[in-house]
Amino acid sequence: MTTVLKTPTLRRIGPKTTGRKNWAYTALAVFFLAIMLFPVYWMVNASLQPNGTTLETSWFPVKPDFTGYATAINEQAGNLGTSLIISLGSVALSLAIAAPAAYALAYFKVRGAGVVLFAILISQMIPGIVVANALYTAYNDLGLLNSIPGLILADSAHGIPFAILIIRAFMNGMPAAVIEAARVDGAGHVRAFWSIVLPLSRNSLITAGLFTFLFAWSDFLFALTLTTTEAVRPVTLGIFQYIGAYVNDWSSVMATAVLASIPAIVLLVAAQKYIAAGTTGGAVK
């Protein structure tokens, strides 16, 4: 708040150039952004080029051509659906596991909480390939290979530790008096959690949910290792198969890439507040 109040006064007192100088910084920032987001532009541009003419992709989509999207939807619609189901499933599972755990860690101060938190941090050091290696054999025995529940369970490994940290950080700041008041009124643990704690933690639940969605949606490793047939195929694997062979139809590959980027783009634009909360909350605390 102080910074917001400070700036106008400074600008009024200072020489007129301050304002112009500030806009010069904006221009510089736009320039940096343009460099950083060029690949994203190029993806969209290439997806709108007509098929076959890979040799001369024009710098701008002057005559947008949607055959790439037609092919992409034709070939990848099922895979996109699979990814969607897996991601939603992973959000549900991750929140169902992480929210109560975060509550216990933040509010009850149970013994062993330190051990659990340490385990969460250590879990971040375990390479995905190690997990995949062991899960493949276990899934093979359990018949979970090539199954949506199998991928939901595995993909949640990306989201659950993160969700616990984010929600716990939020719940740490929640006034204990509110919960105690509910308990005094005779609410049991489950009811206090369900009707007081969860509604109050709404924002952190949304942040955690959005990130677990993105993590599961982006998962490539488990899709690659825990499926062996075409039966269950997330879109990330679909893209990998496109680029695994020699590519002569980049417009459909890029169209699929655009479709696979939609969740990230939509969330960044529409839920920017929650995304910002997630990027700072999880890592530093």
Partner: protein, 330 residues
């Protein structure tokens, strides 16, 4: 589960003893009832944590243990039909570590990690400092910079493969239009350039993370310090050297440790861009472990190599955290 039931019981005991030792306070409920109520309370509280503990055990604990076990067994293509994986002692480790590919992939892993971290950190810090200035649209522009980090890695790999394409990629065409190059540079298909290209792409992916965390750290440094510093003549580089950097140290540690740990295990980007090629020039320990398990079906050797990666990661984290703690103590 043992954890979940053991701990509340011992806590209940301790509390019960304490209640007894307190004597017979009139308001206190009889010790026995109180103890059982407290025990129930503790048990209830632990129930909230049980699903997470079970999940973490199954999907992190079990794989680590299972991987150690597997690394002492011989897996072949037929193992998954017959279920036979004989014990072979340290054979897998010997095979994996003495293979000529190991030194290649170890060197590549080190170069990939160092290159990525240095690039991401330096550019991320520069941008974070730049965004400390107050200018219009700062917040929106900064948050749009997050996009490369939020895109699925395999999408980024696909896009960059097309940009780095030798014949019609955007980068070569751009350099060609500027007259810098005459013929297409084989970014991803030359053994001497592929690793550099892969590092470049990984830097692009990591900048937003470094920027965001470092920006947060910079924001925490109180303005008064800079004001006091400027009175003492510390401005520009001097104020960065003597105020910003020391204050930012803890955040820098977090960023670097997380960065190294995450970069060591990168798989998606390399598989998507080069698949470890050409001629293993971008093969890292992680991709090599994947190849051994899922292409050659030598899960034992893949597990052994995966464990080597875990150990490297652990050793780094412990060494670094100890070093930085000592630095902070001084």
């Amino acid at each position: 589960m043992t954890l979940a039931t053991d701990i509340p019981q011992s806590e209940g005991h301790a509390a019960g003893k304490a209640a007894r030792a307190n004597g017979t306070g009139a308001e206190q409920p009889p010790p026995k009832r109180r103890r059982s109520r407290q025990r129930r309370e503790r048990l209830f509280q632990w129930l909230f944590l049980v699903p997470a503990v079970v999940y973490m055990t199954l999907f992190f604990g079990y794989p680590v243990v299972k991987n150690v076990v597997m690394s002492f067994q011989e897996y072949t293509t037929s193992t998954f039909f017959t279920g036979e994986a004989p014990w072979v002692g340290f054979t897998n480790y010997v095979t994996v570590l003495s293979s000529s590919l190991f030194s290649t992939s170890l060197v590549n892993t080190v170069l990939f990690t160092l290159g990525s971290i240095i690039g991401q950190f330096v550019i991320g810090l520069a941008l974070a400092i730049f965004f400390q200035r107050k200018f219009p649209l700062n917040g929106i522009l900064r948050s749009l910079l997050l996009l490369p980090w939020l895109l699925p890695l395999i999408v980024s790999s696909a896009v960059w493969r097309w940009i780095l394409d030798k014949d019609s990629g955007a980068l070569n065409r751009f350099l060609g239009d500027l007259g810098i190059i005459e013929t297409g540079v084989p970014w991803l298909t030359s053994t001497s350039l592929a690793l550099i290209a892969v590092v470049g792409v990984n830097i692009w992916i990591g900048i937003p993370f470094n920027l965001t965390i470092l920006y947060g750290g910079l924001q925490e440094i109180p303005d008064e310090l800079y004001e006091a510093g400027s009175l003492d003549g510390a401005t520009g580089w001097k104020s960065f050297r003597h105020i910003t950097w020391p204050m930012l140290r803890p955040v820098v540690s977090v960023v670097l440790v997380l960065g190294v740990v995450y970069t060591l295990k990168v798989l998606d980007i390399i598989l998507g861009l080069t698949n470890g090629g050409p001629a293993n020039s971008t093969q890292t320990i992680a991709t090599q472990s994947y190849n051994l398990s899922f292409h050659e079906f030598k899960f034992g050797e893949g597990a052994a190599l995966g464990n080597v990666l875990v150990i490297i990661s652990l050793v780094f984290a412990v060494l670094y955290l100890r070093a930085s703690r000592r630095a902070v103590d001084e």
